[in-house]
Amino acid sequence: MQEAQPVLRLQELTRVHGSGATEVHALRGIDLDVFPGELVAVMGPSGSGKSTLLTIAGGLDTPTSGRVLVEGTDIATAGRKQVAALRRRSIGYVFQDYNLIPALTAAENVALPRELDGMSARKARREAVAALEEIGLGELADRFPDEMSGGQQQRVAIARALVGDRRLVLADEPTGALDSETGESVLALLRSRCDAGAAGVLVTHEPRFAAWADRVVFLRDGSVTDTTLRSSAETLLPGGVAAK
């Protein structure tokens, strides 16, 4: 896995808001690589820079300095059109409040980014239904968001984030509005999508959800203070289970 190219690469990333006396260093020299198959959780107190990191990684904000490479393209220096295309084709977002379009069914929501990218409506729908079926939500395809539970909406949002060739999913507190067990099912889905080859970045303040990640990165005052690597827990287990 480590030989593959990172899907997301942040290099010496800094972000300064304001200037002079009111200058705030939201990020101070962040380096982070996220490889296919990997889920990285970012934790830290509020104001530590977690959300800034995620918005910059997703091309929604630009860094003051440093590089942001998504699938090898530097979105800090790419043109607007190129960034927009990258956001459509390579990056998926999952937000706390799901952000499904209320007037569209689950399948239409999942199909939307593909249609925007020029795919025919029929083909996009077929792909969307297949994506929903793959995660066990096939029967929800024709439901509208207000006919689904929060957990179901969030799982549809994950399907949307990873439809097509997109391999990078950026999740900002995706479990924030969900009860404990539903939040867990959402994390289990995110985990399984990463196991299937996606790269995920999860911002959360909940240790129990961060614990689903392969690595947990701690931010404080805009810098990475620590990173956990998972150990080989399966060797402790009777009967051992093969890791991915």
Binding site: M43, P45, A188, R191, E206, P207, R208, A210, A211, W212, A213, D214, V216, F218, T225, D226, T228, L229, R230, S231, A233, E234, L236, L237, P238, V241
Partner: protein, 204 residues
């Protein structure tokens, strides 16, 4: 940990011998709290002394088996009905460590907290992976379900610890400011407050 009641609960399902009790106890709890067979026999001897179990001859394999008595069943029912005592909490090394770190000269309490946080979250990552595997295979047997419950207990208590550490840190940051003011007035009694703030180097 109540080995005593754990063994009674297993014996309530039928007579068993020592090694068998050990194996069943461990498979039920995923070997989270390993028992040695000596502990099992010591506990059985005490249960016998208290009239809660009796020797029940030998099984076909020649193992000396024990059976639960009516008194043992009563004791077991009472155990299930009685909440686990929280009024005399067991000693918690981490709580004691942080309590001692407050006001210890030269101890960076935020570093102590962060070091523990990393360790605790990493343990949670390990437990969570085990849990994901347990859920994936679909727990069906009594042992598998029981193991899942035990794993989740480990995850939830690690989570409680991580949250408590966040809380301690936030509180100490807030208190550090007011303690610093006191330090300035008192002049020279710097050590107490220096140990709870990261803004100033600890004085020696």
């Amino acid at each position: 940990m109540s080995i005593r009641h754990g063994l009674l609960a297993l014996l309530d399902r039928g007579p068993r011998y020592g090694y068998q009790l050990r194996t069943e106890f461990e498979s039920r709890t995923g070997a989270t709290w390993p028992l040695n067979v000596g502990q099992v026999y010591t506990t059985l001897a005490r249960l016998e002394r208290d009239g809660l179990v009796v020797p029940a001859g030998e099984d076909d394999g020649g193992h000396a088996v024990y059976a639960i008595t009516d008194e043992g069943r009563t004791e077991l029912r009472e155990w299930f009905a009685r909440p686990v005592d929280r009024t005399s909490p067991p000693r918690d090394e981490l709580a004691i460590k942080l309590a001692m770190a407050v006001g210890s000269p030269g101890v960076d309490i935020r570093a102590v907290i962060q070091g523990q946080r990393i360790h605790t979250i990493r343990a949670m990552q390990d437990y969570t992976r085990l849990k994901a595997q347990a859920v994936e295979t679909g727990p069906t047997t009594r042992d598998e379900v029981a193991w899942l419950l035990v794993l989740e207990q480990l995850i939830f208590s690690a989570e409680a610890e991580a949250r408590w550490l966040d809380h301690c840190e936030a509180r100490l940051v807030r208190l550090a400011d007011s303690l610093n003011e006191g330090e300035d007035e008192g002049g020279g009694k710097g050590e107490r407050s220096a140990s709870v703030t990261s803004k100033r180097p600890a004085r020696r």
